[in-house]
């Protein structure tokens, strides 16, 4: 205690006596004027606060006016109506349907009343109390933001909830619209869907005017054209009571601007034909995944784009259940993925276009150069086989491309080397996204020495150059890249950015953005080289490498391809996947492939098509029959039977 309390004698240290500050230092006395000044500050501050309190509580109307003052004038967003989407012919593909949404403002729901309100609400909506509670608690925003509890509520339920509002504090019924995709599955991969904004997105987009219970385009053009379709939300002044319930609308600050509409390059009829052809081929050949793309090579416009299996985007627009969403995610066919753009595969023999173009353009071979094709080529002890096991003897580029001779293109690839091969692949647009106006595009792989060094830490082996030359090994392309590359062949060397949207149209009907072809890249190549390759592609058909395709009353050029990849079967064999890209001249019946005037190109990709013939070729053939209204049926279903077709073509 003595140490704690201390006494005068102990106090010489640590504190010096205030009057004993040492020589030359004067004692400091507290300044009375400063203490007075400080006291004055206190007096003034307290007076101001008292005055303010008196003014607020006594003079400013006091309690009688409190009720009137209890209202709040707030700015509230006016939602804009989302733009519509039309097909090439002007048919409406999506409509906005009014729907009732039930929401809760958590700040208005006193904690003590939460349980009965949640109980009553879950009863009315047919949800469990757990679900309602989870949705309230999942809100990302503040307690004053509305939280979506249920969408697409039947009108009768909505009425009931509105009538019971006195016992359901904080609960509001809002009329909003949801998207109704009239074509459903036919356009799901192109249109995508809208759904509720996620908390992370909201943080990013709040500044752009997105609200916590907003919807946003998620996939397809709904996502890529979100800014056009959404429009601009307006603002209105509303009067609310103390608990935030709206009393009246006082006026509009800014009108909402409806979103722009967009018109697709795709025609519903052509899309339907493509789907029909693909469905037929897949059913016939027992396939689980497939793609058909139709394009105008002169502009890059996509005329049809089908990826199967697919999903119904209306499920998302109406609020998909977590169980159903998980089911779609778990489907091995990946229906939510647009296989035409979001996945890449080895291109197989279709890639011989790159090798042939490079050989000709670099002067390694000429139109007349003949190379000996045989059963296999060797590098050291490794054998690189011809797909038919024999070869065809000496072949020029027409014969080599026409028969799809592997040994011919091994040799050309060897002459070019991996880096020149990669150069020509990039000239065709491989190795980078085509920048199509759809989200989630894959970029594909063009292997060269640098790529392999970066990826696998070593240089390309000579044998890998052979594989790269016939579209095997590391080569990987998306279907949209492949058709864009062949479109460049067909149009004389322009690599277009593919587009699925033709025009952006303002609500008043004026065209905001007219259609313009977008050129990504013009190939640095002698047009005559492409002329040779086009005629070589015609040879593929004329020498009946594609069976009876030549018998159609229209002229078709093209290239098939088969790639092996995936999981090996019991015999250690890889699954086969088949490609075909075909195009027709401007004058389909009599035109020539000397000219770069093709207006129509069709690509089919058949995943896991272990069939006798090339399934993709049959699908393209069927589409062309349908497209040109050819009455005679040239399809050969036998070619689509499951078999042991193990030859690279």
């Amino acid at each position: 205690m003595s140490a704690l309390v201390g006494g005068p004698r102990q106090r010489s240290w640590p504190l010096r006596h205030p009057l004993d500050l040492g020589p030359g230092v004067t004692a400091r006395r507290p300044s009375a004027s400063r203490f007075l000044a400080f006291g004055l500050v206190i007096a003034i501050a307290v007076s101001v606060l008292v005055g303010r309190l008196a003014w607020m509580q006594l003079l400013d109307g006091g309690r009688s006016q409190a009720a009137a003052r209890g209202t709040i004038v707030a700015l509230e967003a006016i939602r804009s109506s989302r733009g519509l989407i039309y097909d090439r012919a002007g048919r409406v593909l999506v409509a906005n349907v009014p729907t009732y949404t039930v929401r809760i403002r958590p700040a208005d729901l006193p904690l003590s009343l939460r349980e009965p309100v949640v109980m009553r609400l879950s009863g009315l909506l047919g949800l469990t109390t757990g679900e309602v509670n989870r949705r309230i608690d999942a809100s990302a925003g503040s307690r004053f933001d509305l939280v979506r509890i249920a969408s697409d509520v039947p009108e009768a339920t909505a009425r009931l909830i509105t009538e019971e509002r006195s016992v359901l504090p904080g609960v509001e019924v809002v009329v909003e619209s949801h998207r109704d995709y009239l074509a459903g599955e036919l356009f799901a991969q192109v249109l995508g869907y809208t759904s509720a904004i996620a908390p992370a997105e909201l943080a990013r987009l709040k500044a752009a005017g997105y609200l916590p219970d907003d919807v946003i385009g998620r996939a397809g053009v709904e996502a890529t054209y979100e800014r056009d379709l959404r429009g601009v939300y307006g603002q209105q002044r509303v009067e609310r009571d103390a608990s935030g319930r709206r009393i009246q609308i006082l006026g509009t600050v800014a009108d909402a601007l409806p979103g722009n509409s967009i018109q697709l390059t795709i025609d519903t009829r052509q899309q339907g034909l493509a789907l029909k052809a693909l469905r037929w081929g897949m059913a016939e050949a027992g396939l689980r995944r497939g793609v058909v793309i139709v394009m105008n090579p002169q502009t890059g416009e996509v005329l049809a784009l089908v990826s199967l299996p697919t999903y119904n985007n209306n499920e998302f627009a109406r609020g998909i259940s977590p169980e159903r969403y998980r089911e779609l995610l778990a489907d091995p066919g990946q229906p939510l993925l647009n296989h035409a753009i979001s996945e890449h595969f080895p291109p197989g023999s279709t890639y011989k276009l790159v090798t042939g173009t490079g050989g000709l353009a670099d002067g390694e071979i000429s139109e007349r150069t003949r190379l000996i094709t045989r059963g296999y080529l060797s590098i050291g002890s490794f054998r690189y086989p011809e797909w038919n096991g024999r070869g065809w003897g000496p072949l020029d580029i027409y014969g080599g491309f026409g028969h799809s001779s592997d040994t011919f293109f091994y040799q050309v690839a060897g002459m070019l080397g991996i880096d020149r091969l990669a150069y020509w692949a990039r000239q065709y647009g491989f190795g980078s996204p085509t920048e199509i106006d759809l989200p989630a595009e894959a970029s594909g792989i063009v292997p060269d020495n640098q790529w392999k060094l970066d990826t696998l830490g070593e240089l390309i082996y000579p044998g890998e150059v052979y594989h790269a030359g016939i579209g095997q090994g590391y080569d990987a392309v998306t279907p949209i890249q492949l058709i864009t590359a062949y479109a460049a062949l067909a149009n004389g060397g322009t690599v277009f950015q593919p587009q699925v949207v033709r025009e952006v149209i303002a609500p008043d009907g004026t065209i905001v953005r007219p259609f313009e072809p977008r050129v990504r890249h013009v190939m640095d190549v002698d047009p005559d080289v492409l002329r040779v390759m086009r005629e070589a592609a015609r040879t593929v058909v004329t020498i009946r490498h594609t069976y009876n395709l030549v018998d159609l009353p229209i002229k078709v050029a093209g290239k098939s391809g088969t790639a092996e990849f995936g999981q090996r079967d019991a015999q250690g064999r890889l699954p086969f996947h088949s490609w075909f890209v075909g195009f027709v001249p401007q004058d389909a019946a009599n035109g020539s492939f000397r000219n770069a005037d093709s207006p129509l190109m069709v690509l089919a990709f058949a995943y896991d098509s272990r069939t006798v013939g090339n399934a993709a070729t049959e699908i393209v053939k069927y589409y062309l029959q349908l497209h040109f209204g050819i009455d005679h049926d040239y399809r050969i279903p036998d070619l689509l039977e499951r078999g042991n077709f193990y030859g690279g073509n």
Partner: protein, 383 residues
């Protein structure tokens, strides 16, 4: 004879020292005013906790527990000879900074801030304790015999001493509390007698730094609060909402108030997470203008007693201590009540004693305890 006299002096000292003369100087008024404010705060917590008032963990029971801790801290601090504090001022300073760094490292808070540290089941806001420790450190600095109060170097030194704590608190981010450090600095320098021109220069420099602070230091939400103070209707659903809600509550109070527990239904739910900082709004609604006057009167009386203690301490250290505590309480009173009454922007500053925040109350108890220690233990010499 000589021996006898010495003996008798010792006996006399022994008997006389512990009780009466010392504790006679204990300022009972100061204690009563503070206790009354705490009681009002507890009453607000009790009447507005809803049906679960007496359940363990409710605002009221926690407030009661913190009040108990505060009494213990106050008693120990009052019994302690404050002059001894100067011996371990620098370890205290290091502890202060360490606590703030720990808060930044492991702290929690509302909306991504780091303001509280959880100690067992309790949240503790070290920045509250830091304010009192800063008062002590600053007082020690100014009381150094060689300190020249008419030198700008002294002013700069005091700024440098406070800057790390204020910066660490600002990083939490807690603009309000870091401003309290500024108020402590200015008030203490002023009452300690630092040259007025140097204080003027300091003020000028602070004004010049404002644009820099606005651009580089303030977070968006802090700017938003200041802007919504200037124009509350601009964002009535956001930070303007709290302001409007609290003003509606004050208006509803009138002269006599609506009576305890009669705050508009759901108001406590409406006032946001930092509702404890808005306790004055509920108080003004339930107890009316009269209740508000009582609170202001208690604060004025309390500040008077704090200044009296500073004046009577008769040594620069005690003076600066009292000045620091008075500045802190006054600033918090102005800013907190000013916020509720709509004359100050929203900051998370508690109303001293009344707001039921544990750290705030315990820190204030420590400060007042040290003030009582000044009353009790100041050297028995005159200037």
């Amino acid at each position: 004879m000589g021996v006898l006299r010495i003996e008798s002096t010792r006996v006399h000292d022994w008997l006389a020292r512990p009780a009466a003369p010392r504790w006679r100087a204990f300022d009972i008024q100061l204690t009563v005013y503070a206790a009354a404010l705490v009681a009002i705060g507890l009453a607000m917590a009790f009447t507005n906790s809803g049906p679960d008032t007496l359940v363990s963990g409710s605002t009221f029971t926690r407030g009661l527990m913190w009040a108990g801790i505060a009494v213990v801290v106050f008693t120990i601090a009052a019994a302690f000879d404050y002059t001894w504090l100067r011996t371990f001022v620098w370890p205290l300073y290091a502890l202060n900074l360490a606590l703030l760094v720990v808060t930044l490292a492991v702290g929690d808070g509302v909306g991504g801030t780091q303001r509280w540290v959880l100690i067992g089941p309790l949240q503790f806001q070290f920045s509250e304790l830091s304010k009192i420790l800063t008062v002590v450190v600053l007082a020690n600095y100014l009381a150094s015999p060689s300190r020249r109060l008419d030198s700008f170097v002294t002013v700069l030194g005091a700024c440098a001493l406070i800057a790390p704590s204020a910066a660490l608190v600002l990083m939490q981010p807690d603009l309000g509390t870091s401003l309290v450090f500024g108020a402590i600095l200015v008030g203490t320098l002023f009452l300690s007698g630092v040259g007025l021109r140097w204080l003027g220069l300091l003020g000028g420099l602070a004004m010049a730094a404002l644009p820099v602070l606005w651009t580089y230091v303030l977070r968006d939400y802090q700017k938003q609060r200041i802007l919504s103070f200037l124009d509350p209707a601009a964002d009535p659903q956001g930070s303007g909402f709290q302001l409007l809600q609290s003003q509606v509550a004050v208006h509803a109070g009138g002269l006599m108030g609506t009576g305890l527990t009669n705050s508009a239904q759901g108001r406590l739910d409406l006032l946001p997470v930092e509702s404890t900082d808005f306790v004055f709004a509920i108080l003004a609604e339930e107890l009316g203008f009269i209740g508000g006057l009582v609170v202001f009167g208690l604060f004025a009386a309390l500040l008077w007693r704090v200044l009296a203690a500073a004046w009577r301490s008769k040594d620069p250290f005690g003076l600066a201590m009292g000045a620091g505590i008075a500045s802190m309480v006054l600033f918090q009173l102005i800013v907190n009540v000013g916020m509720v009454l709509g004359v100050m922007p929203i900051t998370g500053i508690p109303l001293p004693f009344v707001t039921h925040g544990g750290a705030s109350l315990v820190s204030l108890a420590l400060g007042l305890g040290l003030l009582q220690s000044i009353n009790v233990h100041h050297p028995r010499t005159s200037w």
